[in-house]
Symmetry: C2
Subunit: 318 residues, 2 copies
Amino acid sequence: MRVDELGERALVKQLARIGYPPNATLPPGDDAGAVPWGGGHLLLKTDGFAYRQVALQGMSPEAVGWRAVTAVASDLVAKLARPLGFTLALAAPGEARVETLVGLTRGAARAAAAYGAALLGGDTNAGGELAIYASGVGVARAVLPRAAEPGDGVYLLGDRWGLSGAAIHAHYHGIPLDAYPAIRRAGHWPKARLEVLALGAVRDALSGSADSSDGLAETLWQLAEALGVGIHLEALPVFPEVRAYATEAGVDAHELVLYGGEEYEVVLVVKPGGEAAVERALRAAGVPHHCVGRVVREMGVWYRGEVLARRGYAHFQD
Amino acid sequence: MRVDELGERALVKQLARIGYPPNATLPPGDDAGAVPWGGGHLLLKTDGFAYRQVALQGMSPEAVGWRAVTAVASDLVAKLARPLGFTLALAAPGEARVETLVGLTRGAARAAAAYGAALLGGDTNAGGELAIYASGVGVARAVLPRAAEPGDGVYLLGDRWGLSGAAIHAHYHGIPLDAYPAIRRAGHWPKARLEVLALGAVRDALSGSADSSDGLAETLWQLAEALGVGIHLEALPVFPEVRAYATEAGVDAHELVLYGGEEYEVVLVVKPGGEAAVERALRAAGVPHHCVGRVVREMGVWYRGEVLARRGYAHFQD
């Protein structure tokens, strides 16, 4: 079978299980891989993409390099692991500009430093198009898997919900972002939220977490499907700039929140009764948070009572 | 400037320094990156390649996946780090076969297990051609950098010298390997030598090490140039099967040893006076070893008194 017949979602599910170790401390297909190490956990993650896939209008090579490391850092942080080091592997055609590769590497190094970690070299290869593979290693005392139980509360952490979606929408529709600095910042320079690591102190109040980079709706559907549970969404954060952009662009602001993608924010699943302690920890750490719904027994994802359409990004099929 | 004008060697040298942390415990451009961690060192490495670059005649996707993890494992082991986990990221065109990707992942998982480590998932992306990026993390009590001082002895560890070169030569010249099982094994299923980790016990007798995957001559030139020293090669191991193949193929057996590539073996640099202890440790660990020369003050590489030509493999320029 061809990979474009199978589709990315089914392919990833199949590959993620191959040889995945029985002593792993995160399930296969989670945001990162983890093995026990020194009384805690060692996490490893690789994320690759084509330059043209992610370079939004006006985005510099530095910003793309920053984003590559940020995507990996966000996965590690969502699992409560502190990033220690990153590598950056580049594939480039012979006619690529050295300045572009230097810019990518500089951006990756800046991001690594911003996360208190090191850029530990990388690799370059000839390739048909410019592609970037970032890898990162982190350590955690206790990890947070993709897990949820009926009755749990669902929270969105951070403040990029809808903003990254608006930045991507603006890119594809040629809409200038001069009047929307927060949208531009979320799209060009998203920052992984190291402050989320403070949740380690309230680990017992948590069921699980997921990094959202495929879009909120897709992330929730992945959780629901993998865990055999349902998620009822009741409220969504719609920030003023997202509302203003949506009005100008003639789109539904909720669509930007649900189908944006590349948020690099955390979806947090909190045990019943744990809400107060978790909210206190998030406030103390300065992490914006929004209680958006609840986990139910029946498999599916609903938004205000209606089944939420699944239209996430999938490679091989667009 | 275009990357094919600058060339891979100069590009890698430029990129390797960007943001490389001052507290790193291996120098930029070494076989892996390393930071201090928990009284020891945490090492991270990524290695990428195009499938068609490395799949020799008759090599299965499993063998290519095995090789991807082996290349990374060999770099970690050469620095005296024990591998703990690997990831595998794949880029594939839509028409690629699912079976190929499954095979690559199975091979990678087998290799990880063979090295006592875990395959911790990965990533898939659409790409113009099939490409593989393996990353690995390892830990070491004491690391061994690319270092050498005049007076040091130079050793080749392992038994694939010339054999991997013969396998690559056979591939490009359409020569069947049925009569050469050791050459085929070295080319298709090279195994990183975990036994080399036994050298941790004689770390004080060692100056440095380098993984050889660009070919012996290129590896020695890299060492000489980076360290400002010279290397006098006096003897080279030429194994019977390499000699037989060279005779049949009408090539110089020494050329196969010097310019082979993809050995995934270690070049070891031993302090003067340390030879006996190191040889004892290698014998006890069952690591084949060959004393091949000595480090000198004058920069360069010589083989039996003649300057050794530098003809390593470089991306972007072939």
